[in-house]
């Protein structure tokens, strides 16, 4: 029934397009991740001013849906916060390539009366808390990293996302990376079997729970934490420095990864080397077929991607996304040129 409705709508749109403009308008459909939706819609509306003959339509239905739809070829491009597994790539009818667009980071937020923002946490602390092994705020492992901070003798209430999300995927990727225990017991994924804690729906659910309940800890997207001025923890990175989550430290994570970037960009950015690299960061990708079925559409997509890399990146920071570092932009430009 939906497809019927959609064709009717499409027909209506087509009629409008014919009535509105004499020249044929190329409509390019995409679907996928919700996390980059604000920046993508900004790009598409800006790009409409650059190239009036093309119209992008993006539905933020979630990474899982984006992967399904691009595999089924019901959309012209997909978008995902997690890269495809080898099995998923094989299931696609053609060669799918990953185009990293921007980066996001995950912030550890908390609510402990008397403890201001900037609580220092190591990877062992965070994984210990989420594994349910560190249960009190005044645990020696936390206290040792925070000399001078008076931590209460209260149980830690752990909050996590209940809905499947890319944020959870990045966060559990980090925990799997830093803790062999986590990797063996839980693993990484958009929804995992949490050893402890409460589930809140969406960033707002986790933030709401943390805000309204004392002695809680949770994790949210960087942009969400900044917009809502949530307190956040500074995390110890791989090089042993405590790093404040920011757009700059997120970009630094990608710069740290640039040296060993695989050609297909399927790389996780958590726990990357670099003095300033924030440890819980990740790419978000567009998924396009290397060989486009419709040459005209393919050409338009390539033109857009080139524009996005050159001009679009500058709009990222204002919307609290981390732009790609120059070294990565250069690599991606070459990849984009290979789309036919």
């Amino acid at each position: 029934m939906f497809s019927k409705l959609r064709t009717t709508l499409a027909a209506l749109l087509a009629v409008c397009a014919i009535a509105g403009a004499a020249s044929a308008e190329t409509l390019i459909n995409g679907a996928g991740a919700t996390f980059p939706y604000p920046i993508y819609s900004k790009w598409f509306s800006e790009y409409a001013k650059v190239d009036k003959s093309v119209k992008f339509n993006y539905q933020s239905i979630g990474s899982g849906g984006g992967i399904k739809q691009i595999t089924a070829q019901t959309v012209d491009f997909g978008a995902s916060d997690k890269f495809l597994t080898d099995a998923e790539l094989k299931a696609a009818p053609g060669k799918l390539i990953h185009i990293p667009t921007v980066m996001g980071a995950v912030v550890v937020t908390y609510n402990v009366p008397g403890v201001p923002t900037g609580l220092k946490l190591t990877a062992e602390d965070v994984s210990g808390i989420y594994l349910g092994q560190i249960t009190m705020w005044n645990d020696a492992r936390i206290a040792n990293d925070n000399p001078g901070v008076k931590l209460p003798a209260k149980p830690i209430i752990v909050v996590h996302r209940s809905d499947g999300s890319g944020t959870t995927a990045i966060f559990t990727d980090y925990l799997s990376n830093v803790s062999p225990d986590w990797k063996a017991k839980v693993g990484m994924g958009a929804s995992v079997k949490w050893p402890t804690g409460l589930g809140g729906k969406g960033n707002e659910g986790v933030a709401g729970q943390v805000k309204s309940t004392n002695y809680t800890i949770g994790y949210v997207e960087l942009a969400y934490a900044f917009e809502n001025k949530l307190p956040f923890a500074t995390l110890k990175n791989r090089d042993g420095h405590f790093v404040v989550p920011s757009i700059k430290s997120t970009s630094a994570a990608a710069a740290g990864a640039a040296k060993h970037m695989p050609a297909d960009y399927r790389i996780s950015l958590v726990n990357q080397p670099g003095k300033d690299a924030y440890p819980i960061a990740g790419f978000t990708w567009l998924l396009v077929y290397e060989h486009q079925k419709d040459a005209a559409k393919g050409k338009k997509i390539v033109e857009f991607l080139k524009w996005e890399l050159k001009h679009g990146q500058k709009m990222a920071a204002a919307l609290l996304y981390a732009p790609l570092p120059d070294s990565v932009v250069k690599m991606v430009q070459k990849t984009v040129a290979g789309i036919k």
């Binding site: 979630g62 849906g65 990484m188 929804s191 804690g197 659910g205």
Partner: protein
Amino acid sequence: MSHEEHIQDSGFAGSFNGDRIFKGITLGFAFSVILVLLLMVAGMAHESLPALRQFGWKFVSGSDWDAVQGNFGALPFIWGSIVSSLLALAVATPLSVGTALFITELAPRKLGGAIASLVELLAAIPSVIYGLWGVLVMAPWLQQTVEPFLMEHFGFLPFFRGAPYGVGMLAAVFIIMIMIIPIVTSITKEVLLAVPLSQKEAAIALGATKWEMIRMAVLPYGRSGILGAVILGLGRAIGETMAVTMVIGNTPQISLSLLAPAYTMPSVIANEFAEASSKLHSAALMEIGLILLVITLIINIAARLLIWGVTRQQSSGGRK
């Protein structure tokens, strides 16, 4: 079906062409509803085949839910749904029947009308608003006031043990209760209004007090209708998704404690379906949907039978 026979028996069928067309059209409508239901069941069963094959009955009895390892057991969700709905219903039913009785029998007409429309207004509030209120206002209140009180005074019972999180089974029961009160109240009110005046007058003429009149004349007459209202409330309770997801804590576990977080069937579907990338994961969620549908059907059939039973008892009791 019986309607159909009735029309044919009456001898009108076929005498007017218009009647025949009208009959055909309405028959088509009636069957299209059934067809939609069957198609839905078939579609969901087809989509959940991978999970049905992999887990069999273990899916219903297992309590491990791990999307990373590909292990799925639905018992904590079934438990959460049934327990939260039944508890909410147990609290909401006396409240709703009491409210309806006050509106119809005891309150001055103007006050009763005002209360009735206020209660109906509650039904118009979207469930996400209830959820927001639940998570921002009710959960902190539960956490800071109600749950510490319960733990202190009733902590010897297994139902009130654990840490006060605010969100959890108790919060879900409260939210569902508030959401089903309007529906149960307004249907019960209509049922009570339908009680014939002669019945009530007869009771009063026998010297009954107001309470005796309600017990002897009003409640027995309305019994099947009230039961129907309660079942409708249960239907809403078990399917409620958004508000429950926001306050139940979303942890798949089976705990006797009302303070512990839990999880329901609609919640896990709403939470995980959009990002379920493996086939088995989406199949498992589909199967949960199927189980939910079956449970709802069972409830409805049971309700039908109960109401029939009650009505038959009543009519035979009346003849005595």
